[in-house]
Structures are given as structure tokens and as C-alpha cells.
């Protein structure tokens, strides 16, 4: 029964994607949806790290940037095949993740957050400073579209299908991981690392593994960004974006795969909606961040449900 259920969900998802891709009017919406999809990919990975394994990363934009620049630079400047460039980005991000992760994941709570924060900023500065390679603060342009076996994903719609196919694939992987021996071990570490260790779980190795996995997700998303927007700048990969990513995870609901979709969508669309307020956009964004975190700390869905339950109980005079 469960298998049929899964196949149905997969079919529905694919159908929605195909419909959206074919019917949406104009490139603006397609571009927006591409961005949402790219953010979903990062958030899926980050959720595995934060929601399931219970670790904090305030520097994940760095991996996003590493993937983007690896793909961008290798394909534009050195004419490397996009797939190879993507793989190079993955390798780079994995390497950096291992280097930083081994010492950092020995830290707990705030100290881990601080270490990832520091690391993230260092990468952002490096991307800015290595201007002979990255184009510096003004960005890097002329990135060719993604191509596979000669077929180029040139139009926004082609990019759309590429991005959302990846979303589907990574969703499949993530759901499987969560439901597996590893997923249980991660959740165990989150609830009681001591007991998990006593039951034979190599917590340090697993934490590092999932940190690397989440870095790979972000790197892949970065490569997709480079090929679909053809232009990248260091400012997109800094501290504020790392915070935005973390907020997407929390707003969507930690340890909720579908929550990743919600959180990414909401926080990607929000700045677009707020753009009408011009100068006040930043003010309102900050205000919304604060208000949502104060009153709906368990995420939008659970938060609203909690609020609704609370109201019901008050009405019944309890």
C-alpha cells in the first residue's frame, strides 16, 4: 500500500512540474520558480543537518557560492564541460566541508554556530578578493547554460525543467535518507548523543557525513544558479544569505521535508512582494523575521496549527 502511495506522490509532483513549466506566462515567473527550486535544494540539505542531526550552520551560503563559482569559472573561463565543472564544485565543497567539519563538529550549540559563521564569512571574503579569478565584487558573467551530451538548457523553460528535475531527485534521496537506518541514527544523535554513542552510533563520523552531504546539496544548487542566471556575485553568498537559509529551515519547520519547500518558497517570494515598499523593504523584512520567530518558532505550519488549537481551547474556556 505504501509503495503505491509513494508512486502516486511522485506522479503528482512530476505532473505539477510539467504543467507549471509549460503553462506559466512569461519568464519572470519561470525565473522565480527556478530560484525557489534552487533554494529548496539547499534547504533540503540544510534541514538534514539542522532538523534531523540537530547541528547549526550559519555559513552554508559558502558552499552555495563555491558550487556557483566552480561551475561558473570552469565553464566560462576554462571551457570545461558543465557536468565536469559541477562535479568539480561538488568535490571542492566536500573537501572544504571535511576540512572545516572535522574540528567544528566537535563543538556544540553556539560554538558550532560561531565556527560555521566564521568559515562562511572567510569564504565570502575570498570570493570577493580573488578578483582575477572570480571577477571580484562586481560579479562574474557570461556563464554558459548547462549542457548534457550536447543538449543545451538554454531557455528559461529548459532551465526550469533542469532545476525541478533535480529538486525531484534530491527529494527522493532525502526522503529515503530520513526513513533509513542513517536517518534514525541522526535523529538519535539529536535527541541524546550519549545514548546514541552507547548504542554503537559513531556520532562524530555521522555528523561529519551529513555536514558534507548538506554541503553537496548547496554546491549543486550553486552550480544550477550559475547556469540558469548566467551571472553570479559574491554578495549573494554572504552572511545574510546564510541566515536566510537557516530561516527558511526554521520557518518551514525543522525536520520536515515538505517544510523545506514551504520555507524556501515563502522566503524567496517575500522579498519580491516587499519590493513595492522600496526603501522600507529591508525594515519590513526584518520585522517579519522577528515576528515569525517570536510567535511561530516551530515553523509556519505547526505554529499556525498551535495558534489555532490555542484559540479553540480559549473559546472552550479551558
Amino acid at each position: 500500500m505504501k509503495r503505491a502511495h509513494r508512486w502516486l506522490q511522485a506522479l503528482l509532483f512530476s505532473l505539477l512540474v510539467v504543467l507549471a513549466g509549460s503553462l506559466l506566462p512569461g519568464t519572470y515567473y519561470v525565473t522565480l520558480l527556478n530560484l525557489i527550486g534552487i533554494h529548496i535544494i539547499i534547504v533540503l540539505g540544510l534541514n538534514l543537518l539542522m532538523g534531523y542531526a540537530g547541528q547549526i550552520s550559519l555559513g552554508h551560503a559558502a558552499f552555495f557560492g563555491l558550487g556557483a563559482y566552480a561551475s561558473g569559472i570552469l565553464t566560462a573561463t576554462y571551457k570545461v564541460e558543465p557536468v565536469l565543472a559541477l562535479a568539480a564544485g561538488l568535490l571542492l565543497s566536500a573537501g572544504v566541508a571535511i576540512l572545516v567539519g572535522i574540528p567544528a563538529l566537535k563543538l556544540k550549540g553556539y560554538y558550532l554556530a560561531m565556527a560555521t559563521l566564521g568559515f562562511g564569512i572567510i569564504v565570502a571574503i575570498a570570493l570577493q578578493q580573488l578578483d582575477w579569478l572570480t571577477g571580484g565584487p562586481s560579479g562574474f558573467m557570461g556563464i554558459p547554460p548547462f549542457s548534457l551530451f550536447g543538449w543545451q538548457f538554454q531557455s528559461p523553460t529548459a532551465g526550469f525543467f533542469l532545476v525541478w528535475a533535480m529538486v525531484g531527485f534530491l527529494l527522493f534521496l532525502s526522503l529515503n535518507i530520513v526513513d533509513s537506518r542513517l536517518g534514525r541514527a541522526l535523529r538519535a544523535i539529536h535527541d541524546s548523543e550519549t545514548a546514541a554513542l552507547a548504542m554503537g552510533v559513531d556520532a562524530q563520523r555521522l555528523k561529519l557525513l551529513i555536514f558534507v552531504v548538506s554541503a553537496l546539496y548547496a554546491s549543486l544548487a550553486g552550480s544550477l544558479l550559475a547556469h540558469t542566471t548566467n551571472f553570479i556575485a559574491p554578495s549573494s553568498f554572504g552572511f545574510m544569505f546564510s541566515i536566510k537559509l537557516v530561516t527558511m529551515v526554521v520557518v518551514g519547520g525543522m525536520a520536515s521535508i515538505w517544510g523545506s519547500f514551504l520555507g524556501a518558497a515563502v522566503l524567496t517570494v517575500l522579498p519580491e512582494l516587499l519590493a513595492v515598499f522600496h526603501d522600507l523593504e529591508v525594515v519590513i523584512f526584518g520585522l517579519i523575521l522577528m515576528v515569525v520567530m517570536i510567535f511561530l518558532p516551530r515553523g509556519l505550519v505547526r505554529g499556525l496549527l498551535d495558534l489555532w488549537e490555542y484559540r479553540q481551547r480559549k473559546k472552550q474556556g479551558r
Binding site: M50, I56, L58, P103, A104, L107, K108, G109, Y110, Y111, A113, M114, A115, L117, G118, F119, I121, I122, I125, A126, Q128, Q129, F239, M240, I243, V246, T247, V250, D279, L280, E281, V282, V283, I284, F285, G286, L287, I288, L289, M290, M293, I294, F295, P297
Partner: protein
């Protein structure tokens, strides 16, 4: 002799910036010590201190009065911030609190941009422009103000924390909130007070550095993060440690910037942060509250 002059120059520049980082770091430390919260809006208190004092001075108030009023205003803002943003989220997870304070910082920065625009504003130095010359290196009078006032503030803080009833109550509330409540200390008030005190220190730092770096709506972000690095490097639990961390940071920055490359200047703070976290997380001096959430 030239080498000595050059070296001294770095030291002076490092001490100046380091004092500022130390002051900002103290702000982080005060709040973290009392509440185990990292206040990512701290940098914006610095920025507001700078811009508000510039504003008051531009209205015609004398410098000392403008300074005093600016610090008071930002302190009140810190108290209000705690009351509206932190207290309702008292029991939130660390990650939620991080996002709340970052949101608060973004909000303040946005308001500053709306109110003051993106221009940079100047503030005259407290006692004149002419730099002193010491062994071939120059040092601005403002730098002396910065170092002197920082020392005064740090000594004052220690004296306050150890010598006065209020200071002891603040420390008691941070070591053991339950016991503190039992002896009649209003812990929630202490938490609010720590935010106010932090804001005051931040504002002072902003006002002190404004004559040198000018006041801009986005000056707070990097300053805040570097002050935070100073606090962790020195050790979040110890005032002298934080200031020492700041000074170390300032000097390291100046040396790296002058001798290696100025572009990576900002990265120095975070590199040292990582080194400290990996090899000595309690900080160079800190006995640090053992908060591992």
C-alpha cells in the same frame, strides 16, 4: 628606525581599532553572560550610537551633550529591544534567538537607511585633528580618547559588577537564575538591564570611532561581527579577556593588512576566531560560562 616607526604605526592603529572591538565585544559578553544569547543586533547599536551623536551635534548641541544623549537614547533602545523582541521569546531555541536578533539588526539597519540614507556623515574629533608623533609613528588624538575611554569603561564595568549591589545582582542572575529569584532578584529585569548596558557600550564605541571612520547606515554589520570575534577570542566570561581579545585582533589585523594584503583585512578576525574555537574554545583568558546548548 623606519621599520620601528612602521611597526609602531601598526601597533597604534591596532590598539585603536582593538579598543573599539573590545568595547563592542563587551556588549556581546554582557548579554551572553546574563542570558546565553548571542545578540546579533549589537553592531547596529554601534551604528546608531555613531549616527545619533552626529545627528545631535548637527542640531547644534555641544559634543559632550550630544554624546551623553546619544548613549542614553541607544540604551533606551536596547531596553525596548529586549522587552519587545527577546522577552516574548524567552524559551526559544538558540537558533530562533539567533534569527530574532539578526532580524532585529536588519530592522534597525533598514530604519537607519530610511532615516539617514546611504550617505556617510562626519563627526569632529573630540579634541582636535593634529596627530602626535611618537618615535616616527603618528597617533591621532582621537585614538587616545578611544583607548583612554575604553580603559575607563572597562574598569568602571568591573567595579560596577563587583562593587555595587546591582552589579552583583546581575552576576547572580547569570550564574543561577533560580537561586537569584529566590533571594528576590528580578531576573527578567536583570536580563533587560544587560541589554541596556550592552547597548550603552555599543553606542559609546560607535560615537568614539565616528570621527575616524565616519557614520554610515551599514557600518554596524562588520563591526558587530568583529566585536563578537574579539569576545570569543578573549573569552566570553571575562571583561579583561574580551578587551585583550579586541586588542589582539586589532593588532593582528593591522599587521596582516600592512604586511600581507589589505583586501583580506576583514578575514583576519574570522580566521583567528576559527583558530581559537578549534584549539581553545573557552578563549584565551575566559573561564567562560559552560553553556553548551
Amino acid at each position: 628606525m623606519e621599520k620601528l616607526a612602521e611597526f609602531l604605526q601598526y601597533i597604534f592603529s591596532g590598539l585603536t581599532n582593538g579598543a573599539i572591538y573590545g568595547l563592542i565585544g563587551l556588549g556581546f559578553s554582557i548579554i551572553f553572560h546574563a542570558t546565553a544569547i548571542i545578540n546579533f543586533a549589537q553592531g547596529e547599536f554601534v551604528m546608531l550610537g555613531a549616527l545619533v551623536v552626529i545627528g545631535f551635534y548637527a542640531w547644534g548641541l555641544s559634543l559632550p551633550v550630544a554624546l551623553g544623549l546619544a548613549v542614553i537614547l541607544v540604551t533606551v533602545l536596547g531596553l525596548v529591544f529586549e522587552r519587545l523582541a527577546i522577552r516574548p521569546a524567552r524559551d526559544a531555541t538558540p537558533i530562533s534567538l539567533i534569527i530574532i536578533t539578526v532580524g532585529g539588526g536588519v530592522l534597525l539597519k533598514g530604519l537607519a537607511m530610511v532615516f539617514w540614507g546611504k550617505d556617510a556623515y562626519t563627526l569632529p574629533p573630540f579634541s582636535g585633528q593634529a596627530p602626535f608623533v611618537v618615535a616616527g609613528a603618528t597617533i591621532l588624538p582621537q585614538s587616545l580618547w578611544i583607548m583612554g575611554l575604553t580603559l575607563l569603561l572597562v574598569v568602571g564595568l568591573e567595579g560596577f559588577l563587583r562593587g555595587t549591589i546591582l552589579g552583583k545582582a546581575l552576576r547572580a542572575a547569570s550564574y543561577n537564575p533560580v537561586a537569584a529569584r529566590l533571594v528576590g532578584i528580578r531576573v527578567s529585569q536583570m536580563v533587560q538591564f544587560s541589554f541596556g548596558l550592552s547597548a550603552a557600550f555599543g553606542a559609546a564605541a560607535g560615537a568614539l570611532i565616528a570621527p575616524i571612520t565616519m557614520g554610515v547606515y551599514d557600518m554596524g554589520t562588520m563591526l558587530g561581527l568583529k566585536g563578537f570575534c574579539a569576545a570569543v577570542i578573549g573569552g566570553l566570561g571575562s571583561s579583561s579577556g574580551v578587551v585583550l581579545g579586541g586588542v589582539l585582533l586589532g593588532i593582528a589585523e593591522a599587521l596582516a593588512s600592512g604586511l600581507i594584503s589589505s583586501g583580506y583585512r576583514d578575514a583576519v578576525a574570522f580566521l583567528i576566531l576559527l583558530l581559537v574555537l578549534f584549539f581553545r574554545p573557552q578563549g584565551l583568558i575566559g573561564r567562560g560560562p559552560e553553556r553548551t546548548s
